[in-house]
């Protein structure tokens, strides 16, 4: 009954005019942002942070999370629209669309049902009871599993992926130590005493770096043909998408602009921008949609970001749960879960209908001057960082621009920016749990291996990393 009442409450909240307006606004701005050149979905999500704060002030306490969820799905389908625009849709094979369209709609609904059911379990407190049992050692095991899972499927070699994880963790520890109050890794720079802001890092890595990268790459003028890739069956691809949702795999797709995706040596199953035909673009958008939907499950169960995309969602869930007030924050999170999964229905269906309708009509490809967009994006990124920091705003803008240059160097070197960002985001929580579990075990470092859940997660992480890297080495995945 809790499942039904939670969802019913979610739908009732969604039906209120201001929340519905936030949903529509999120979808529209998301679709526009996702279809812009020089902007990746992760960059767009970083740019919307002040808008979500504004939502909280202007559209009521229930609106920000609805806006962010709608925005995230909007960017995904905006990316599909950009890919269709670049693929010269008037030459697309439209005869196969009705059948595929039905499949895609069906799969999208399956994804909604899977996610809604899973969160229904969460609302019924089953998942919450399990996660409440997790101690610091188990949380360390879980976070290491996620980091190794991300490195397993991350860009570049095994060593470079692990190096990005470690570098991200190091950068995340910059600032004042919570327990002792000592400044760490700050080199005497006052602006670093409070640590580096996640939004500054995200804007640098995903907006500034992508702008430099896209401007340095010639925008394709010819219709795009995706490089060949072994085909997956319909159900196997859907199962893969569901499994990928539980691992930190969203970041790689979301951190890449459409132009960068099209310069890949092989098309990605989950990236609409890397596909050539309209059918494959729709299929990839649907698979990416399923993957994103599934990744919301661990976010709600653990309130822990599971990749480079979910920190933005986790932060807004936390902020909204606190703003809702009351003694029980977990009850607020459960209420938000109901609202989010009510929101998932329109944000799945509406963009899908828009994209499918657009496949049925013929239009001239729209060209946007990437240089103008780039200029606006850099200005917007500087404005956002300036607005978010009351003190030392110029220093934080410089830090953001420095991360932009670092991000561009990482693109050139073939390093995975999304892995670095994910590790950066969870670094403090990982360190906190390591310290706590060592304190509980009185300094016994084997404590992580003595507890079955922690040991199992660590072993699973190592096995996943080794197996995935071995398969990638043999080019089997």
């Amino acid at each position: 009954m809790e499942v039904v009442s939670g969802l019913a409450h979610g739908f009732a909240t969604l039906a209120s005019p201001l929340v519905l307006a936030a949903c529509v606004l999120g979808l529209v701005t998301g679709i526009v942002a996702g279809s812009l050149p020089c902007l990746s979905p992760a960059g767009a999500l970083a740019l919307q942070v002040p808008v979500a704060v504004l939502m909280l002030l202007s559209f009521g306490v229930q609106s920000p999370v609805v806006f962010v969820i709608a925005f995230a799905y909007g960017t995904l389908y905006g990316r599909a629209l950009a890919a269709m625009n670049l693929s010269a849709p008037d030459k697309a094979d439209s005869s196969s669309l009705p059948k595929d369209g039905r499949r895609i709609l069906f799969s999208s609904l399956v994804a909604s049902i899977v996610v809604t059911a899973a969160v229904g379990v969460d609302i019924a407190s089953f998942g919450r009871q399990i996660t409440m049992q997790l101690g610091p050692a188990e949380m360390v095991g879980l976070m290491v599993f996620l980091l190794l899972g991300g490195a397993a499927f991350g860009r570049g070699s095994a060593a470079s992926a692990l190096a990005m994880v470690v570098l991200g963790l190091l950068l995340g520890l910059i600032g004042t130590d919570i327990e002792t109050g000592e400044a760490r890794l700050t080199f005497g720079i006052a602006a670093l005493d409070d640590g580096i802001g996640g939004t500054s890092v995200a804007l640098g890595l995903f907006v500034i770096a992508s702008v430099i990268d896209d401007l340095s790459r010639a925008w394709p003028s010819e219709p795009y043909t995706a490089p060949a890739r072994p085909a997956h069956g319909f159900w196997s691809a859907t199962i893969l998408a569901v499994l990928a949702g539980f691992l930190p795999t969203n970041g790689r797709t979301f951190a890449t602009t459409a132009s960068a995706a099209r310069s890949r040596p092989a098309a990605s199953l989950f990236d609409p921008a890397s596909q050539g035909s309209v059918t494959n673009i729709l299929r990839a958008a649907m698979l990416s949609d399923i993957r994103l939907s599934v990744s919301l499950i661990p976010v709600f169960l653990l309130l822990l970001p599971v990749d480079a995309v979910t920190p933005f969602l986790r932060n807004i869930i936390n902020a909204q749960a606190m703003m809702m007030g009351g003694d029980n924050m977990m009850a607020n999170v459960t209420t938000i879960a109901g609202l989010v999964f009510a929101t998932l229905i329109p944000v799945h269906v509406v963009p899908l209908i828009i994209v499918m309708r657009l496949t049925a009509v013929r239009w001239r490809p729209i060209t946007i001057d990437a240089r103008i967009v780039a200029l606006l994006l850099v200005a917007a990124a500087c404005f956002v960082v300036w607005q978010l920091h009351d003190e030392n705003a110029p220093a934080h803008v410089c830090i953001m621009l420095a991360f932009g240059l670092v991000g561009y160097a990482m693109i050139c070197a073939g390093f995975d920016r999304s892995l670095l960002f994910f590790a950066f985001v969870i670094a403090v929580r990982l360190e906190e749990n390591i310290r706590r579990s060592l304190l509980i075990s009185r300094g016994d470092v084997t404590a992580f291996l003595q507890r079955p859940i922690s040991a199992g997660l660590l072993l699973a992480g190592v096995l996943l990393f080794v197996a995935a890297r071995a398969l990638r080495h043999r080019r089997l995945i």
Binding site: G156, L170, L173, L185, R435, G443
Partner: protein, 71 residues
């Protein structure tokens, strides 16, 4: 100009240099004990790990052909 093999070793070398900087910075902080981990311990461990990985990436650049392709 650097030869192409040496140029491929640059990213790994930069990572190792960053790691060395982190170890140097963490050196002035307390490492604490196993039960009471100090503020410098984890940055120092991560710095050492990054140094090793940086060298591995540099070695990879020297001895392997790049996998190729942008993101």
């Amino acid at each position: 100009m650097l030869k192409s093999e040496w140029r491929r070793a640059v990213p790994g070398t930069v990572l190792a240099a960053v790691a060395a900087l982190a170890i140097y910075s963490a050196h002035g902080l307390s490492y604490g004990t196993a039960a009471h981990v100090g503020p410098g311990a984890i940055p120092a461990i991560l710095g050492a790990l990054l140094f090793i990985l940086g060298l591995a990436v540099a070695a990879e650049g020297l001895w392997q052909r790049p996998i190729g392709g942008e993101e």
